[in-house]
Amino acid sequence: MFQRILIANRGEIALRVIRTAREMGIECVAVYSDVDAQALHTRMAHVAVPLGGQLPSESYLDMDKVIQAAKDSGAEAIHPGYGFLSENATFARKVVDAGIAWIGPPPKAIEVMGDKIISRRAMREANVPCVPGLVDPVEDVEEAVKEAEGIGYPIAIKAAAGGGGKGIRVVREPSEMKSAFRAASGEAVASFGDGRLYLERYLDRPRHIEVQVMFDSHGNGVHYFERECSIQRRHQKLVEEAPSAIIDDATRAKMGEVAIQAGKAVNYCGAGTVEFLWSGGEFFFLEMNTRLQVEHPITEMITGVDLVREQLRVASGEELGYGQDALSINGHSIEVRINAENPFNGFLPSTGTLHNLRAPGGPWVRLDTAMYRGLEVGLQYDPMLGKLIVWGADRAQAIERMIRAIQEMNVGGVHTGLPAALQVLEHEAFRKGDIDTHFLESLTIQSPKELEGLAAVAAAIYRHKLAKRRALAPADAARTGWLNRSRSDTAAYVARAGTNQSSMGAY
């Protein structure tokens, strides 16, 4: 096993790796940008190496600086976390070339899986089911009707030049093809100046279901069952759970096998996630994430396996040492991401300085976060501040426990998405497991009306107390921001309180 590793990341994932490494008796080297000199990952590591710079490109994304830090500090291996350089094949190669062990899959596997077209081609060859459809655009309506037969209805017509789901037309039977094709073509020309269209099976009410896999360097691989991540907006996941409420044992076994197949096809090693779209009982390969995922803890909670420990073990050349039979699902786990964003205002990023942090606790509540009192939440980095994870004997208990944990939590200084997660967890459809990837976007996030009057009363009393205190305080303090009401006068408060929202729609 390694004696010392470098973690090329920050925030909660750097802490996550440090924690397991410490438990394994491995020393950790943290790297940090100027902004992060006081960050928790620099405090919890055995060695902290400054990379300098304010921007990610000057620090965590600077491959040479990171590799130099590993050399200087005598780290034998680099763990990339997620994000930043974790799925950068060039970086992985540079690390290996520098004689440092790479705690991740082979660079070639990153490369293949990092390209949408190449990965799907490789997966089709490996008999991994992909969303039926064409790679090349169709010429005209006649060809479209012909090809659609082979793909199967419903069909989605997509602009070759488009993206982000814009301008998609759904055709449910051949008779609709003609008019839909013309409309889509015209729209594509208008929107993108390129009328080419291609066809794909349209998936009704798709669910995002992914399988966690792990391979050692001796040809052994296992999966740790699935996670359901359908609660998302703009492809940003908010609530994840394991196992999925809709997957039965047979499908679970099948998805697991397919995921291992996918990994083996690219000679995978280490931890990875094979993402599927599930719709009406079928599942299709979407992509493979060649790194540890944000939501890996829920898999840990239901399997009892420390995935970072397994990553370190296989990266150092150890065999997995157990087969699929040794793994089983115990209970249910849910994760909620704590993002600095305002769910009442289109999930707009929220900035501020954290104060008045209140962490939940008690049975089966896990908090993975790098938050601390005084942390300034800016825009340089990912808005994810942490993750709240619970385990329950069954799905219903896990849901109730997560609601309880969120109710205990407070993150003063910024808005977070927690109220949105709460609304999801309390929603009847979610409780029934009746969700798809559009579920979150279909909700209007709002705090319940019942407590609004009391909130108003509390706010008024708070203002009353503030005014009383100010009246007793020295005159200059009272003058600031109180006597003259104007936006600029309250700026100092706004900055402190971290609520930007009202000046957003300012006149």
């Binding site: 990023p349 900035t351 008045n356 109220p419 407590l451 009363v457 509390a458 008024a460 309180a497």
Partner: protein, 170 residues
């Protein structure tokens, strides 16, 4: 003293009086019996009402207060009677007009309107990219685009002017 508390779409009228240390509160005209205890000096309070106790986290300024209770958050805008009158007058004088400023540093990705164009409340005016997310910034009311201060593709700092609107005639 009467305080107008705006939460989302709803306006509440709260009157708070203190007599010999006892709070007397009315909510929208009706008496509202509450006890208010500060649990610490960092904004944790306990509000007792109707035989129940509510643990709340409070933060903000006299005019903008956020209350977190049972995991939900209520963003409150507060005015007293004098402030309300002044703000209403200002609003009336400037209906649909006003200046849109950047609330955070970011990059203006795309301008969706032109100078002189009529816009309606909620219509997206421009796309601002911040924290790797593209955010459509909407018009705060009906009006006419007077000046566009921003250019697509350029970075803006928090507080930079983006677009000025004037009220529509008539």
């Amino acid at each position: 003293m009467k305080t107008f508390v705006q939460i989302g779409e709803t306006a509440h009228e709260v009157e708070v009086k203190e007599r010999l240390g006892e709070l007397q509160v009315t909510l929208d005209g009706d008496p509202c019996e509450v006890q208010y205890h500060e649990a610490d000096t960092h904004g944790q309070i306990i509000l007792m009402h109707g035989g129940k106790s509510y643990a709340m986290s409070i933060e903000g300024t006299p005019h903008e207060i956020a209350i977190t209770v049972a995991g939900y958050r209520y963003d409150c805008e507060l005015e007293d009677e004098r402030e309300r009158a002044a703000n209403l007058a200002a609003k009336a004088a400037n209906k649909g007009g006003g200046l849109l400023k950047a609330v955070m540093p970011g990059v203006v990705v795309e301008l969706l309107v032109k100078e002189g164009e009529e816009v309606t409340e909620g219509q997206p005016l421009l796309i601002l990219e911040a924290m790797k997310m593209q955010n459509e910034i909407p018009a705060s009311g009906d009006g006419i685009v007077k000046t566009i201060h921003a250019t697509a593709g350029t970075a803006v700092a928090a507080g930079d002017k983006l677009i000025a609107l004037t009220a529509k005639e008539g």
